[in-house]
Symmetry: C2
Subunit: 238 residues, 2 copies
DNA sequence: ATCTACGAAAAAATATATTTTTGGTAAAGA
DNA sequence: TCTTTACCAAAAATATATTTTTTCGTAGAT
């Protein structure tokens, strides 16, 4: 009946929701709740959660079920530093090996992104199309990279960063920032095969994105309780 | 009753066996077989396999179960290049941030490794203790790295590389190679806080290990069929 | 003789039921 | 009043059963 197996469907659905920040980081993911939401058997849910665990979106507490992976400003800083290294590595490889078709794909993706508005028509909510075009743009930029492993690691890091972005971006102040020209600068340098310049610009882009998220969001993290297996034991009730 | 959950036990057991190369890469992992071998329910096995999937040791074929992740010389080359970048990044951070206790741990781990024979007493089989000491040595070398993400990625890559090593090392020619002095050189440079030299030596060490495995093992890969999810689609029904 | 269609067996995927474990509450004792 | 312990409920983990899907073998037809 289903083109995809039930487990895969549940996995994809949950992944998408987690990426969107629709669950509170650190909160519990109850099997039964998910089971009914996704019309799946508990086994399927469990399996989906296991896979998400290794994707770093979910944490498994040995005998207590699963929780949404916590977030913190320290983690975001660390993540970004590592991500910059990896993304620039991929970009260098792509610039070295990319062919004409790749150049074409970049121009297409950039054209698409440039003409997609960041906000929806109502001017309040963020535009899903932009998110997708943005992801595709960054994917395309490095898809001529010849190393499977670099690409695999890049995707992992991208997913993490994307979660932070979607959770925090609506809270961030609408400071002036010309993201389009940042993107354009990267495209120009990349198509000119100037690896150093392109990487420098990509790094600045990622760094600025993080700064933007971080300064608006830092107060938020103060409230974020990081629930880990170990110490936190509150001992009063009533 | 059990200190660890059944799923975790199965996961650990399988992971250890996979790392040891006890399964033919590309071969099928039948749920029932594993179920009886590990005294676990099919659900537990399934969950363990799911987690191994994201560790890159197992591949899931949508409606056909799980297979052992394939290997190839191209993959080993790619893997090593990426691994070198990551390991040296970790080492730089460790050298910058490591304290006295870290220096002590390195000396201890190196002392332990140095005095553990590579081969068992019979001179034929490889010594499990050496493998463990070797892993601990490399772990300790970089455990003062302050970046959680670099360490996480390093571990992923280490697991992959370790699988290749264990599968191939017994096939490799016993060429002359003084691994101990390679290790010692890394230790010396690291404790002298000479990051450039230490990284250079670490890189050479990893590269030599790969060369060693590769030249003896290349003929093997000719026989390895790389089964990927893609094409095989039979299209008849009714 | 080769190819195709059908059917049976095996294995995976899913659903249901049972057992364990955990967390919270209340009651009893210090 | 505070601490400890026993009990209860909720949720996770596991076991068992059922359904679906795939694969393999065989027979029949071209």
């Amino acid at each position: 009946m289903a083109a995809e197996s039930q487990t895969t469907q549940t996995y994809e659905a949950l992944k998408s929701e987690l990426l969107d920040g629709q669950f509170q980081p650190g909160s519990k993911l109850k099997i039964d709740q998910i089971r009914e939401r996704c019309n799946a058997s508990p086994g399927a849910v469990r399996e989906a959660l296991s896979r998400l665990t290794s994707d770093g979106l979910v944490v498994s507490l040995p005998q207590r079920g699963f929780i949404v992976a916590p977030i913190s400003s320290e983690d975001l800083v660390d993540l970004t530093a590592v991500r910059i290294e990896i993304e620039t590595n991929c970009l260098r490889s792509a610039i070295e090996h990319g062919d004409l078709a790749w150049e074409g794909r970049i121009q297409a993706a950039w054209h698409q992104l440039k003409h997609t508005p960041l906000l929806s028509e109502d001017g309040q909510t963020f535009n899903r199309d932009w998110t997708e075009a943005h992801g595709l743009f960054h994917d395309t930029l490095i898809d001529a990279c010849t190393s499977k492993w670099w690409l695999k690691l890049r995707e992992q890091m991208f997913i993490q960063a994307e979660r932070y972005r979607r959770i925090l971006v609506s809270l961030a102040k609408r400071r002036h920032r010309d993201v389009d020209s940042e993107h354009e600068g990267i495209v120009t340098a990349t198509l000119a095969r100037d690896a150093n310049l392109a990487c420098e610009r990509l790094e600045a882009h990622l760094q600025r994105t993080m700064d933007h998220l971080l300064d608006a969001a830092t107060p938020l993290f103060a409230h974020e309780e990081i629930h880990l297996p170990g110490p936190p034991k509150s001992l009063q009730f009533r």
